[in-house]
Symmetry: C2
Subunit: 257 residues, 2 copies
């Protein structure tokens, strides 16, 4: 039975997509069977995995508005044994509007994944930069939440709001939802600012800060255009090593934080 | 009569907010009367200008759902003569849902600003990381669009989609909307990757690339927590100089691209 992680943070550009892809590849390389779920209409994860979102005939959108079976939409990721994706396209923006008027709208993704979760060891859900109905679906479908945190002021100011949203989901839709931990992304340890934000997040919100932080490196920015992750693009780099170390912790303990 | 710029890019974390704040401060410092409009429920611009969004009694949300006059919500920014803000709060997330079901929903912001635009020389609208109804309102209210572009793969892949949205707004809501230009943000000129993306965007989309690029610098990340812009936090830095040079171009020619 799969362990399901939602990777969420409503702030833009804090490496949610990069984290989902990198952890997914690391887990698959170490033998897990992994399904990545792209919940973002901008389909950056889908693109980063080597697909052209504009050319896909079916996507998560079709699953969510009940036209297509999830099995018919999931695709293997080329070159990585054991890694699969439930891809997104821009149509997902329409799903967000459609879902708003539906009863039980928070559970649509959870129900869609019920039938396939058993085929995998781990599911990782990439959420868009908002706390709207798509992210709520991701949180409702998950066992626990991973919070990528770019250690800068505008990023950590959103953590409180995210935790309130998680609390709402726990109350109304998914009582077993827990926070697995915070991942410090694009970390520049030389700046006092980054170190301060990192300490503050764990002390102020009582969240577990996973180790190690993922170092800032231009190698990350180059990878998506090649349709590859950092682990394939620069396997020996500190960034790749950091994500491998983090991935190893995800299965080392139960998802309950 | 004010010139109105929408600062838009649906990709997260590409320095939309930083660009609105920095250009706004630069213009005010050189004598313009400037109104910054925070169109993002996450209220990062409002926070970066020194306000506590959770403590504000009224915001753009109240204006958009017709409860409050815009004049009663606009506030001066402390310490910067000639700079004002129409602030956001998390309630704006509710406005997005509310607006979806309203006729003429794209024009709500434009109508709200009609009465006050004449009091300012420039308006800068900070859009959220999405192409939803709030951003559509920003594009409909504007004379022209500034596109902050972080020169990385996942950022420039969204430009085509943004241009299509601008074209839709031109067709259905605002026929005079033009693209003023692209601003290269957080630019690391040492990487071949960044230089490539920058060239590609102008050649592939025929967009004007404004000069200079804004250099990547940790001084930017420190500023928001102090409620200040780069121009106050590090006035002599290359980042501050770049935004001053860009600001000077905004009024040097008509907004029509
Ligand atoms: N450790 C790192 N060092 C340098 N750049 C990084 C790192 N991690 C991610 N990036 C780059 O930062 C940018 C933002 O990352 P990403 O798209 O994963 O963030 P996101 O939170 O998913 O954004 P959005 O909110 O738009 O979904 C991308 O160009 C990515 O390649
Ligand atoms: N030139 C720069 N160098 C280094 N850091 C920068 C630079 N410009 C902005 N930043 C930092 O990058 C982060 C993202 O910037 P910002 O919040 O302005 O982006 P945004 O596009 O408005 O994000 P969102 O999509 O969430 O609204 C912030 O922490 C900001 O301080
Ligand atoms: Mg993403
Ligand atoms: Mg912003």
């Amino acid at each position: 039975m799969a362990v399901i992680f939602a990777v969420a943070n409503q702030k833009g550009g804090v490496a949610k997509t990069t984290t989902v892809q990198s952890l997914g590849v690391a887990l698959a390389e170490s033998g897990s069977r992994v399904l990545l779920v792209d919940l973002d209409p901008q389909a950056c994860l889908t693109y980063s995995l080597g697909f052209d979102p504009d050319a896909l005939e079916s996507s998560l959108h079709d699953v969510l508005i009940r036209r297509t079976k999830v099995d018919d939409v999931i695709r293997p990721v080329a070159g990585i044994e054991g890694l699969f994706v439930l891809p997104a396209t821009i149509d997902l923006a329409g799903a967000e509007v459609h879902l708003l008027s539906r009863t039980g709208r928070e559970h649509v993704l959870a129900r869609a994944l019920e039938g396939v979760a058993g085929d995998y060891d781990v599911l990782l859900i990439d959420c868009p930069p908002s706390l709207g109905v798509l992210t709520i679906n991701g949180l409702t479908a998950a066992d626990s939440v991973l919070i990528p945190l770019q250690c800068e002021a505008l990023s950590h100011r959103g953590v409180g709001q995210l935790l309130e949203t998680i609390e709402d989901v726990r109350t109304f839709a998914n009582e077993d939802l827990s926070v697995f931990g915070v991942i410090a992304t694009m970390y520049d340890g030389r700046t006092r600012h980054a170190r301060m934000v990192r300490e503050e997040v764990s002390s102020r919100y009582g969240l577990r800060l996973l180790e190690p932080p993922v170092p800032k490196s231009v190698r990350f920015a180059e990878a998506p255009e090649l349709g590859r992750s950092i682990l394939q693009h620069a396997p020996g780099s500190p960034g790749a090593a950091a994500y491998r170390a983090l991935a190893a912790q995800l299965l080392a303990e139960p998802a309950a934080g």
